[in-house]
Symmetry: C2
Subunit: 355 residues, 2 copies
């Protein structure tokens, strides 16, 4: 027996799924920056208008970016390890991570969700519930976007944030002598992909909780808004970006745009146990996995050396993790000092260069 | 002989196609609202940062929306009447039209362009050139977005605008007695689709220039920013939205959200010659084509009756077109008075309800 599930048309979905899901996020939403400037949502999803409307009082910087995510083309979705809720959640976090990396306070998501005509309402709802809950995790409302049909599920979004004037974090301000940091371990997302596509079915016994930890990087990624806000407020962070193209790509981008090089110390790179475990299972270099094109949404940033202890204290006071992993150099090369003292180029897969 | 054309990877396209195309739009871009508040682009595409950054000085309302467009799935693209430049252009205008309908001054586009891996650089460039030129037509920069591969060309974008506090145009303010307007003739986009899919190949002689006029609605749509700004500044426009879901849908949405009805007068509806011609060729009711689900980016709006002459003078002074087509009623029905005096429901295809 085939169960027939409703696939409502677009106006019906707007009225019966989207509006109820996002009405609470819109109701009375407002936020205030440290300089007293404020942002208030005047018209969100329930207003059913051409656009969302925010009232902005006082000077501020507005940051905005867009990320399309492969979503249903994620290998881990195709393998059945992620569901529609997960990829909706992921879409929103991938976008908010860029806001976090600018040091901004997220104020809005616009989500573009196109779906095959016969996708049932309950599956569509799951995508939107993932979007809603990820928005809730950073305290910003989903204020609109676009829904409608397409040949397959397509997920794209834009996120906006505000930050005190002069306090947005850029990629181009690192100077020689600045210290290089990462907020937490990277490589977990890549390890998850490797593990579930190549190793999970081999039947060997794994540590309890290992698979959950790996898949968690994809199911419930975090946008490090509190980190970003702390780095922005400190006034001493000279560059920042998220590690969504991989840690190596992040370091190289800051190097290129700032006109510096970096010396990264292997012995200070945080390596999650699961990454070490998967690398061992696969006979791979865990450092290459940590530096390569894994999508982990950590923040990589630089700080003037004289401000190091103050910043570390501020992060610690907020309960926020950090790892000092290197130093910016006059010499423009980006190098890794291995445990044995040898210098080499950073290992790991480059960012998105076509094969 | 097969000509091999380069299909560069993403970092190369960013550096060699995107940045050169959009550097000029970013350089020194700023704008000022009537209340003295201003917006300045601090970091656009050339900054290569996680997000674009605007400096906002003074109180303002921020409006933002997203539109995905079918683009390569447009029937007229599939038939060879639109090219990649055209659908890039269309993407940006579809998004800016929503900003225009809010009465806002557009400040930014974020464009999400995903493409098949083997799409040559020159074809990708054509899409981006269309985006660039459409942005130039409204004086706002394309400040970022996302590029990368997908199974096919996917086009989505978000647009942002700013407007003086309290001056954004909404859909919910029409009151009984308000007069209903449209900025210009609708139905041309639908007539184009009908003509090129069903009639163009029949070989009959057409009026010179007719085909160009029809396809022009798709190739070079206009976002009516000057209209929207004039309506916002007037302070007497009680509701507004664009006609991108069709004129009938626009009127019905304003009716529903404002809690009024409308009486539309057939003898005042602007009917473009090409629409009348295509309707005649196809034996169709031109009024149904004008009201149906054609995508024309006109603005439909209401004005308090006592302010009618002042608003009409202001529009005329700006050289801006308008047509008074009806009146808002206490009775919540939306009706059309035909030329013979008979009242009927609005004819024309409903908006996007699934077949």
């Amino acid at each position: 027996m085939v169960e027939v599930k409703a696939a409502s048309d677009e106006p019906t979905r707007l009225a019966e799924i989207i509006h109820p899901l996002f009405a609470d996020q819109a109701r009375g939403w407002s936020s205030r920056l440290d300089n007293g400037s404020s942002t208030r949502l005047l018209a969100g999803v329930p207003a059913q208008d051409d656009c969302a409307v925010f009232g902005l009082l006082g000077d501020q910087e507005l940051v905005l970016g867009s990320d399309y995510v492969r979503g249903p083309k994620f290998q881990l979705y195709e393998l059945g390890h992620l569901n529609e809720y997960d990829i909706g959640y992921y879409l929103a976090i991938a976008n908010f991570s860029d806001i976090a990396a600018m040091g901004a306070h997220p104020i809005a998501l616009l989500s573009v969700i196109r779906y095959p005509k016969h996708m049932p309402d309950d599956v569509f709802s799951q995508v939107m519930e993932g979007v809603r809950d990820a928005c809730a995790s950073v305290g910003a409302p989903n204020v609109g976007g676009d829904i409608g049909t397409a040949e397959r599920l397509i997920l794209s979004a834009s996120a906006m944030g505000v930050v005190e004037p002069g306090r947005s974090l850029r990629r181009n301000g690192a100077r020689p002598g600045d210290l290089l940091y990462i907020t937490g371990p990277t490589g977990i997302a890549a390890a998850a992909q490797l593990y579930f596509s190549k190793m999970a079915s081999t039947g060997a016994t794994r540590r309890d909780g290992m698979e959950e930890e790996l898949i968690g990087a994809w199911k419930r990624p975090k946008a490090l808004v509190r980190h970003g806000r702390c780095l922005s407020r400190s006034g001493v962070v000279t560059s920042c970006q998220d590690s969504s193209d991989g840690l190596k790509a992040g370091i190289q981008t800051i190097a290129t745009l700032s006109g510096v090089g970096f010396l990264v110390e292997e012995d200070t790179l945080p390596i999650a146990d699961v990454v070490a475990e998967v690398a061992k299972l696969g006979g791979a270099d865990p450092v290459a996995m940590v530096l390569g094109d894994s999508v982990d949404f950590q923040l990589v940033f630089t700080v003037a050396a004289e401000a190091q202890s103050r910043l570390e204290e501020e992060l610690a006071a907020g309960g926020l993790s950090f790892h000092r992993i290197g130093v910016a150099t006059e010499e423009r090369a980006v190098m890794l000092r291995r445990l044995d003292g040898m210098l080499q180029d950073l290992p790991g897969v480059e960012w998105r260069h076509s094969a």
